[in-house]
Amino acid sequence: MAAIAAVTLLSLAACATDEPAASPSGSASAATGSGTGDQSKFFVQADYDAELALLDAAPTGPADKPWEQVLNPTMVDTAKFKKNGPHKICFSNAALNNPWRQVGFKTMQAEVEAQKSRIKEFVHVDAEGKDQKQIADINDLLGKGCDALIVSPNTTATLTPAVEAACKAGLPVVVFDRGVNTKCPVTFINPIGGYGFGHVGAEFVSQKMKPGGKVLALRILPGVDVLETRWSAAKVAFDKAKVDVVGVEFTDGDPAKTKKIVDDYIQRYGTIDGVWMDAGAVAVAAVEAFQDAGKPVPPMNGEDQLDFLKIWKDKKLTAIAPTYPTYQWRTPIIAALQILDGQQVSSPWKLPQPTVTQDNLDQYLDAGMPPLHYAMCGCTDLPGYPQRWK
């Protein structure tokens, strides 16, 4: 049987030698690029226009503390929530199931510690990514004597009634990250959003790549609003730039799958001239696929995760990193304390969404931090830095 294995290997090798240098990838174009396809049903033109306008808006607030800044503020009165401290602040968290949320939550805990003279107790409940658990969590927290409730909803529609019930209980509610379909919370905190993210990456890739080149778009999974908006903005940018999007693939956020997909496309088309992705978790895997295939890494976007920033600098990539900043986890604590002071806060509270570019890369690349850390944590001035994030 060893002989059979050997013969098989030999015959495979033999096939290899008598193969002529036939037409390269060009012939494979029958496997036509799907192009960018139809626009996502999540796409809302007005929101898209608003977000792109915000990318150029000047924020108010301290320039060195983007987590306290607001874009186009509209202030609301909070005098009725004024209360003497120190306070008990409760937080219903959708999940801690990815590095982005891990970094964010550590940042929030550090912010609580920084404010410990004003917070007597901080209660955190993790819904583990389950809507039903989060509904129950919020209900439980209402009976625990919280002075303010922070919610990071797992899904928008399903959590809306639970948030409405919390508002009715009379305590100030602050929602951040993903939203809910109700105006009842005192404020909703999030960065500019997915259209801005997707647009920045796609515009960069289409400008930097060779004209008429082939772009591969990598998406985590379909049907999630924050990710759909990223892709739909990228689609608009690619359509406008008339680049050839040869594939739009779902990676499940899995590096192994990503590497195989990118490798497949390199095999099928000979070369890929630009890579766009809706989240940075698989960026390094995509870079490695080009390296291991012995091809130059084309212009691409990632996110502000340190593994990507590091490979970007080490390998001198042509890259950009739009962000969905983790410093937004600081803001709800700050907002809750301002509300309990009776100070006015902006509602909605739109945070700036910085982009890591070649020019400011060194400023964000901290070699001492772990590979899955997010550079845009705004946490360097917080207690326990850097140990807490390692």
Partner: protein
């Protein structure tokens, strides 16, 4: 099994020895021709070597799964075991090169231990292996989730990753020979030798008819437990190669157990045990990967892969059932 009685049944397919590797070699050859027509570049040494290297983990898992299946059991836990190993490795190595070898040894020991537990529960407590290993699958998924808070931590060292990622450069004729391919060849030869040894024959006998084996003095439980340990070890090696190939991932092993079972069945190994060759199982894995590569060249959506895999399992089992009932 060698003495096939010349009973003539109508509509008999050309007679092939059950469990032989000829059918899978034929399928593989057809696929190679199709790939050659569609994408001749793929058969160049460089890309062929890289293909074999990246297929090494699933081929090893198929070999591991073969030992268990031929002895009459199942191992559904290998996929989650691979994930657990990759996540554990990343956290323990934490990007420190000095910890590479100790962690490699630890992973092998961990793989063997999981196999031992699977085997003992199945054979001593008489829990059907389908349930034992399904339980182990869930335990590992949950334990990894709990231990890591749902997101991988740490990082793999370059030293660890080279097994799955690097290659001997500039080899005459072949170009770049991945380390993974070398690991595969060595272990494949070892697996073949093992199956030709007394142990191998005993393993097949146990799968064919455990009662007879027991009566002829074989300690069935020990043989089967050893098969599970081999499967756990194969998962450990696959995890080292996969982690090296793509880095830390929470989905590193997702679905690999079904890939391995499909490959084994495709390779002509009978579910229920007692029939089939380890080379067939490994060729089955290679064929499956080649089929996926071919689908890619024809622009078939990757989403269809699991559908194809399911179709193959059903078809292969149905074919083998018809063949054995007409025996």
């Amino acid at each position: 099994m060698q003495t096939v009685q010349p009973r003539s049944l109508p509509l008999r397919l050309p007679r092939v020895r059950p469990g032989g590797v000829l059918p899978i070699l034929a399928i593989l050859a057809v696929l190679l021709v199709l790939v050659g027509i569609r994408q001749p570049d793929f058969l160049a040494p460089q890309s062929l070597m890289s293909f074999l290297g990246r297929s090494a983990p699933i081929i090893l898992l198929a070999a591991g799964q073969y030992f268990v299946i031929v002895s009459g059991e199942f191992d559904l836990s290998v996929g989650s075991l691979v994930t657990a190993q990759v996540v554990v490795a990343a956290r323990l190595i934490d990007s420190d090169p000095a910890r590479t070898w100790p962690v490699v040894l630890l992973l092998l020991a961990f793989g063997a231990l999981v196999g031992l537990v699977n085997g003992l529960i199945t054979t001593r407590l008489r829990v059907p292996s389908f349930i034992t290993t399904l339980g182990m699958f869930l335990i590992l998924v949950g334990a990894v989730y709990l231990w890591s808070d749902g997101a991988p931590k740490g990082g793999l060292s370059e030293e660890f990753r080279r097994f799955g990622r690097r290659a001997f450069e500039d080899v005459p004729l072949l170009g770049r020979v991945p380390y993974a391919l070398l690991v595969l060849v060595v272990l494949a030869v070892a697996a073949v030798l093992l199956m030709r040894s007394d142990f191998g024959r005993t393993l097949v006998a146990v799968g064919d008819n455990p009662r007879t084996a027991e009566l002829s003095g074989v300690r069935v439980w020990r043989t089967r437990t050893f098969a599970f340990i081999l499967s756990g070890l194969a998962a450990a090696v696959a995890a080292i190669l996969l982690g090296g190939y793509s880095g830390v991932s929470f989905q590193a092993g997702a679905g690999l157990e079904f890939g391995a079972i499909t490959a084994v069945v495709l390779g002509g190994v009978a579910l229920g045990g007692g029939r089939g060759a380890v080379v067939g199982a490994m060729l089955g894995a290679l064929t499956l990967e080649l089929l996926f590569a071919l689908m890619n060249f024809y622009g078939v959506s990757g989403a269809l892969r699991s559908t194809v895999q399911g179709g193959i399992i059903l078809l292969a089992v149905a074919v083998s059932a018809t063949r054995s009932s007409s025996r």
